[in-house]
């Protein structure tokens, strides 16, 4: 039995690789479809990137407006514009921003002149990863314990709390917390990622400064997202502890701890893996809101400004990156699922 495991693992590996390749190939048409639909919808929205320069501006003549539109290539049919965009994107060139600075979009999202910690994509990515870790670290124990203490007062309190977090508008909660911790108690900074005297701080001072700036944003994001994960965890746990093998585990006298965490927990975790993969777009969307409230210079803030200015190349770049990250997230979730669940790993 023990010897037989090796060839089985190799077999598993081959299936896994084939599966991965298939999934990666499938991503290409999906990504293509997402970009096409996004491109069309953005161009359907009223208004143009040239509006900021030309709308209601007494110094703008029709000729000047036409010149501007030609300058941005907006005089061509939408499908031609999409074709041109696609041609560039194959070379991973997102083009130049339509905003007045005309910087390459990639430079805005990933500014190679700044240290990596100041780049917008990095900031948003790291914040979301940290938020996700915090969410899981809190939501999973809550889910498990409220499942094992079903219908108790504890269950009711946690359920109410996570739903309050879910229902509360995050911008409002953010302002209340800023008022309490930033203004009245003066414990935490209100906005931004670092203090003005940051450069003069010693190394540990810098770390503490960064952490202090992250406390409120991360709390707000995490508090709003606890509900989904903890509730999934709870219901999946409830299902699992009714299974026969849990009864068997209890019957053979294993301590309750081992029953729950060794036997039940691992199985109950499976649906959550899928959920994590699906939560990527939600987190990216949430970034748009909390980065604006907390003045965090991430990709969400850039996206918000881009949409307001109808900066098509910038919007497209961020949507594409977001779509890509989501697809990768889903893929990783599926792979994680395979690793965790031998029934799927072995094919049928």
């Amino acid at each position: 039995m023990v010897c037989a495991e090796k060839p089985a693992a190799a077999y598993d590996g081959a299936i896994m690789l084939a599966y991965l390749a298939k999934r990666l190939l499938e991503m290409i048409p999906t990504l293509f479809g997402i970009t096409l639909i996004s491109f069309l919808i953005i161009h359907l929205a009223p208004g143009k990137p040239t509006d900021a320069l030309s709308e209601m501006n007494p110094k703008m003549t029709p000729e000047a407006r036409e010149r501007l539109e030609k300058y941005y290539g907006l005089d061509k049919p939408v499908m031609v514009q999409y074709g041109l965009w696609l041609k560039r994107i194959i070379k991973l060139d997102f083009g130049e921003s339509f905003s007045m600075d005309r910087r390459p979009v990639m430079q805005k999202i990933w500014d190679t002149k700044q240290p990596i910690t100041e780049r917008r994509l990095f900031i948003t990515f790291m914040l979301n990863v940290m938020a996700m870790i915090i969410i899981l670290l809190i939501a999973i124990p809550i889910g498990i314990s409220s499942a094992t203490h079903q219908h108790t007062l504890y269950d009711k309190i946690t359920t109410t709390t996570v739903f309050v977090g879910f229902a509360m508008p995050s911008f409002w909660l953010a302002l209340l917390l800023m008022l309490l911790f930033g203004v009245y108690l003066d414990w935490l900074p209100i906005s931004g990622l670092k203090s003005m005297n940051y450069d003069a701080l010693p190394f540990w001072g810098k770390v503490i400064d960064r952490v202090r700036h992250l406390v409120l944003p991360l709390f707000v994001v995490a508090f709003g997202s606890l509900a989904a994960d903890s509730r999934y965890m709870r219901s999946s746990m409830l299902e699992v502890i009714r299974q026969d093998y849990v009864t068997v585990a209890r019957a053979k006298g294993l301590p309750e701890r081992v029953v729950i965490y060794r036997h039940a927990f691992r199985n109950a975790l499976l649906p959550l893996i899928t959920l994590i993969g699906l939560s990527v777009p939600g987190l990216i969307g949430g970034s748009v809101i909390f980065e604006n409230i907390f003045g965090i210079p991430g990709m969400g803030q850039l996206f918000f400004n881009g949409v307001m200015a109808r900066d098509y190349p910038l919007i497209m770049a961020i949507l594409t990156i977001g779509a890509f990250l989501t697809l990768i997230g889903n893929l990783l979730a599926d792979v994680g699922y395979m690793l965790a669940d031998p029934r799927i790993r072995t094919g049928r």
């Binding site: 929205a45 009223p46 208004g47 143009k48 509006d51 900021a52 320069l53 030309s54 709308e55 209601m56 501006n57 007494p58 110094k59 703008m60 003549t61 029709p62 000047a64 407006r65 010149r67 501007l68 300058y71 905003s99 007045m100 600075d101 005309r102 910087r103 805005k108 500014d111 700044q114 100041e118 917008r120 911008f171 302002l175 800023m178 008022l179 930033g182 203004v183 003066d186 900074p189 209100i190 906005s191 931004g192 990622l193 670092k194 003005m196 005297n197 450069d199 003069a200 604006n292 409230i293 907390f294 003045g295 965090i296 210079p297 991430g298 803030q301 850039l302 918000f304 400004n305 109808r310």
Partner: protein
């Protein structure tokens, strides 16, 4: 968007402020030595991040606020709104008004050490009229027939026709360092984010999405600024910005009416901050589509004007921080005519005027009718502007009392402009104009400016106004211009194409340790290099 939206903060930053009716400063910060001293920094909160620091390429107020500290113009507005020299020491205008000769200040240097000369001005002019330069400000410069450098410090421009707004167009838009930009594609230049200027401050650091750090130009031709640093902190959310003000994270921001009257009326703010207040260079109005059969009757427009209480709108919507408007100019500026028809609230007279024009409540439902149709129209305004929406609501309530039913519809800005204004698909709109410092309003009122995308979107047409507008922009004689614009205001007041509702006040707040601020008709920021913090009160000793 910059031109027609009433974002208080933005306006405050660009046009700054006006007039001194209440430069009242409540603050307890006293004592210590009061002498101007070098040092310290001022931190200003900004909602939008600048996009481009070359003035002719930017159209957002955040960019202009920053580049205004880095670049100077040939001329600028003095505190009484007259035009005064900046980089030009003096200028001559030929008798026929066609030729302007600027005599430039000598010995001015760009911050990289190169001399500023007439070539830089010519270069800026050639750049802005270049086809390949996407600038929103070309038009004034396309009027120039000839521009020439007479010698190192003399620059001359010739026009086809006399053009009064021309002189002020030679501000900071067209002063660019030729030695750095000559022969390059200006839109791709490093100068857009790392400019070399000659103004009171120079950019030393720009952390995208976070802050811009400006350092004083020790060799500034008008004298070294007292404040060593000017820092713009990007805070996109207005509520967050106010909290930053409370914790001392920023020194200066524009306040909303409720923040000015209620939220800063505490011992803490009185002790640590000073508030300023002066009319902003903008007004809010209700505009009627002149092509609409109901509103083509002057008596109907006048009736509605009598049916609205402007004072009430100022008191309720602006918490009293503004004044009723009577025309398209700001009170106490030279083109403003104080003696026009004022339309004090008078519902009786309003009803009478409606009766005279054939509107009467026949079916007894409280709404006046004519030809079997009730008087029921829609006020359209852009979404996201609470002041405008509240104003519309008060108007709706007041007009109901004279028998007119009003619906209010708010639409997102781009849709609003493209689908409704441009297509002239509206009955009445509630909007605001930011007005320039020059009195010329040809584009808004002239009957030739009614095509799609043009600014006379209400299709106002009055041959006398047309003539006066032409007259006003073709002479440099202030008295003649004044006469033309006074008459225009009389006609507008009688014709009521717009109901001019109110001129809001700009209400900035600045930390009390910063001294030397004196409000004038053009605001507070005109003398920024002279702002200072007394030595004993200086807060930021270390370079941030």
């Amino acid at each position: 968007m910059v031109f027609l939206s009433a974002l208080f903060l933005l306006i405050l930053m660009i046009t700054g402020c006006r007039q001194q009716n209440a430069g009242t400063a409540d603050s307890d910060v006293k004592n210590g030595d009061e002498n101007p001293a070098y040092g310290d920094a001022i931190v200003e909160g900004t909602i939008g991040e600048p996009s481009n620091l070359i003035p002719m390429l930017a159209s957002d107020s955040a960019s202009h606020a920053v580049s205004g500290l880095i670049f100077n113009g040939l001329v600028k507005y003095d505190t009484d709104l007259s035009i005064t020299g900046d980089l030009a020491e003096s200028w001559d205008i030929s008798r026929d008004g066609l030729i302007i000769t600027f005599h430039l200040r000598k010995g001015v240097k760009w911050t990289d050490g190169a001399d500023f000369t007439a070539d830089d001005v010519l270069f800026g002019y050639r750049t802005i009229i270049d086809e390949k330069t996407p600038s929103a400000y070309k038009e004034d410069f396309l009027q120039v027939k000839k521009a020439e450098v007479l010698d190192r410090f003399t620059f001359r421009v010739t026009y086809d026709k006399p053009f009064a707004p021309a002189l002020t167009s030679w501000g900071s838009l067209v002063i660019l360092p030729r030695h750095l930009l000559g022969g390059k594609d200006i839109t791709k230049s490093d100068m857009t984010r790392d400019p070399i200027g000659l103004g009171p401050y120079k950019l030393s650091k720009w952390v995208s999405g976070q802050e811009l750090l400006l350092e004083s130009n020790k060799d500034y031709f008008a004298g070294r600024p007292y404040l060593d640093h000017y820092i713009y902190k990007v805070i996109p959310d207005p509520a967050t910005m106010f909290l930053e003000l409370k914790t001392g994270g920023i020194d200066m921001m524009g306040l909303t009416p409720i923040q000015y009257t209620k939220q800063t009326d505490t011992a803490f703010f009185r002790k640590n901050y000073r508030k300023y207040r002066f009319p902003a260079f903008q007004y809010t109005h209700l505009a009627f589509n002149q092509k609409h059969p109901w509103f083509s009757d002057k008596r109907v427009r006048q009736a509605i004007a009598f049916g609205i209480d402007k004072k009430e709108i100022v008191d309720v919507v602006l918490f009293g921080l503004g004044s009723p408007a009577t025309g398209p100019y700001v009170p106490n500026t030279w083109p403003y005519n104080p003696d026009v028809k004022k339309y004090e609230y008078n519902p009786e007279l309003a009803r009478q005027l409606l009766r005279e024009s054939g509107w009467q409540d026949i079916d007894g439902d409280g709404i006046v009718d004519k030809d079997g149709k009730p008087f029921h129209f829609t006020i359209l305004t852009n979404a996201g502007n609470a002041l405008r929406k509240n104003t519309a609501t008060i108007i709706q309530w007041r007009l109901e009392k004279i028998g007119i039913k009003v619906d209010i519809r708010t639409v997102e800005w781009s849709t609003f402009i493209n689908q409704f204004i441009d297509k002239k698909r509206f009955e009445a709109v509630l909007l605001g104009w930011s007005i320039g410092l020059d009195a010329d309003q040809y584009d808004i009122w002239h009957s030739s400016k009614t095509k799609e995308k043009e600014l006379n979107f209400i299709s106002f047409s009055n041959s006398e106004v047309d003539e006066l507008l032409e007259k006003g922009r073709r002479t440099f004689d202030l008295e003649k211009r004044k006469k033309a614009y006074f008459r225009i205001q009389e006609i507008l007041a009688d014709e009521v194409p717009y109901i001019f509702l109110y001129v809001p006040d700009a209400t900035p707040i600045v930390h009390a340790r910063i001294r030397g601020i004196t409000p004038t008709p053009i605001g507070i920021s005109y003398n920024l290099p002279k702002w200072y913090v007394p030595k004993s009160l200086q807060r930021h000793t270390m370079v941030p």
